[in-house]
Symmetry: C2
Subunit: 332 residues, 2 copies
Amino acid sequence: MPFRHLSQIQELHQLFLDKLADSIWSSEPRGLYEPIEYILSIGGKRVRPLLALMAARMFGDAEDCRAGLPVALAVEVFHNFTLLHDDVMDESPLRRGQPTVHEKWDVNTAILSGDLMLIKAYDLLSRLPDRSRLPELLDTFNRVATGVCEGQQYDVDFERRSDVTIEEYLKMIELKTAVLLGGALEMGALAAGASRADADHLYAFGRLTGLAFQVHDDLLDTFGDGAQTGKLTGNDIIRNKKTFLYIKAVEDLEAGEREELIHWFSHSPKDPAPKVARVTELMRLRRIPELVGEMRDTFQSEAYAHLDAVSGDPAWKAVLREVADSLLRRES
Amino acid sequence: MPFRHLSQIQELHQLFLDKLADSIWSSEPRGLYEPIEYILSIGGKRVRPLLALMAARMFGDAEDCRAGLPVALAVEVFHNFTLLHDDVMDESPLRRGQPTVHEKWDVNTAILSGDLMLIKAYDLLSRLPDRSRLPELLDTFNRVATGVCEGQQYDVDFERRSDVTIEEYLKMIELKTAVLLGGALEMGALAAGASRADADHLYAFGRLTGLAFQVHDDLLDTFGDGAQTGKLTGNDIIRNKKTFLYIKAVEDLEAGEREELIHWFSHSPKDPAPKVARVTELMRLRRIPELVGEMRDTFQSEAYAHLDAVSGDPAWKAVLREVADSLLRRES
């Protein structure tokens, strides 16, 4: 299904890409800047900078919207910094189908280039046209960046624990993913002169959309149509990944079923088909997909209530809503 | 030799330590914050935060000086972040006589905790009492932090090259060490309300003192009295480390001597004594220690000229001068 607001989205996308190209990555020493240029050039959907620019556009014309560019660049560079260091920590060989930086160069290069990207994210943010708002934006950026690191650590901790609660899991995905989406919107709006109240609503909209997206993603992996998602259905179950579905099931299943589920998640049989079949059967038995789907829908409708409360340009609110819809549009 | 201004230095040192203890490191998740608490607690001379506080004290009374605390904390946390990641990259087992973070925990913990320290450095800096100066301080911090990463990369690059010039080497040690000393002074002064001109003089003083210190350190390693420095004399030669002395010697020696020097630096004989003896003989023959000593003295006197030009409290300028003296006091 094509975007109804495709031209508006493309306009901001192009504005961002032009600014990203017209940048600082050709500096010396090349051994430090080349990996940064590489990771920033191999693409990605640019969701976070687009959110920042849409939030800015909502409070001004095309020219005012440029005030959001420092935020757009900062959040994209920050996001790519986290990918670079996460790939080192996970020993991932590929990112977006291309060799990761520690594979193409080495681990030390990936660490140091990542460090510089984090510094450059702050540097880019500080190039706001109206610097009187910089302290306020810096507070948001620090809060968000701290949250992302904490979320990453919780994720690592939770892999080693068997008693993670739904609240803890939601907190983890909120920190790891959702706060940066919210932060991009909040900072984009502030950069363009929005009120604190509007910026807060946009943050809440982004945070809740992020939660809905993550929960939806877990649901798709296990109960989605593999042909449509492009992923192997049941992959999370095969890898014993403790997703939202799994944690909800551990909470809701009866004692015997719970033990069986935990047992399935404690080993990796050669033929995974019977495991996937039985685990999904156990989950369906206790209506886990429906319950998790309802939670996703609650996040989503709460998100839209916050978007409705924003006093920005209704035309651009509609664009933003369509982008959020598209994240959750894939068939479950 | 005891400090003449010991009580003033101790006063600021204690102010810093109290603030460092009264801090954020007890947060959750512990797996992320514990390593930060650890690296910050195992000591160090706290030179950078002391410089920041002295610069602030120069432009106000004991109460005004507290305006420099956010800078003092930010530069110390930043410096320890660089140590944490450098230790991973160098695979160093010990730091200040204690196990490094990647040894005590693991490499992934050291990467992620280091990342959070960099974010916290910005977070601490942003807690200035007078936030109208934050954009200006942030510019300095970004410039300094970028320089430190670039210096680290040049250091790595230079180890693989045999044609490094004196200018390149000085640029590397300037970025890797000296700019942070200058930055601590510049930002401490700005936080306490100093003029741009005074802040610039203090930056230049710190930068040149840093250069003098690094050159002095190289000189000590090879021509110092091991009993006084507590180091093995000639250690840099044994490890084939391309120091300022080595690069100056490669530039100044005659062709045959140069080839001999390069040959000595291309291998590690079992008994290093003849190597150390011959290399120091070659250097002495062309008066390298004297020439390098003169360069150090030039940096030092240029540094003091900048300090003299600062319009701050003369009593505190004297304290700062004594601290700088102490860095270069060890017998060469």
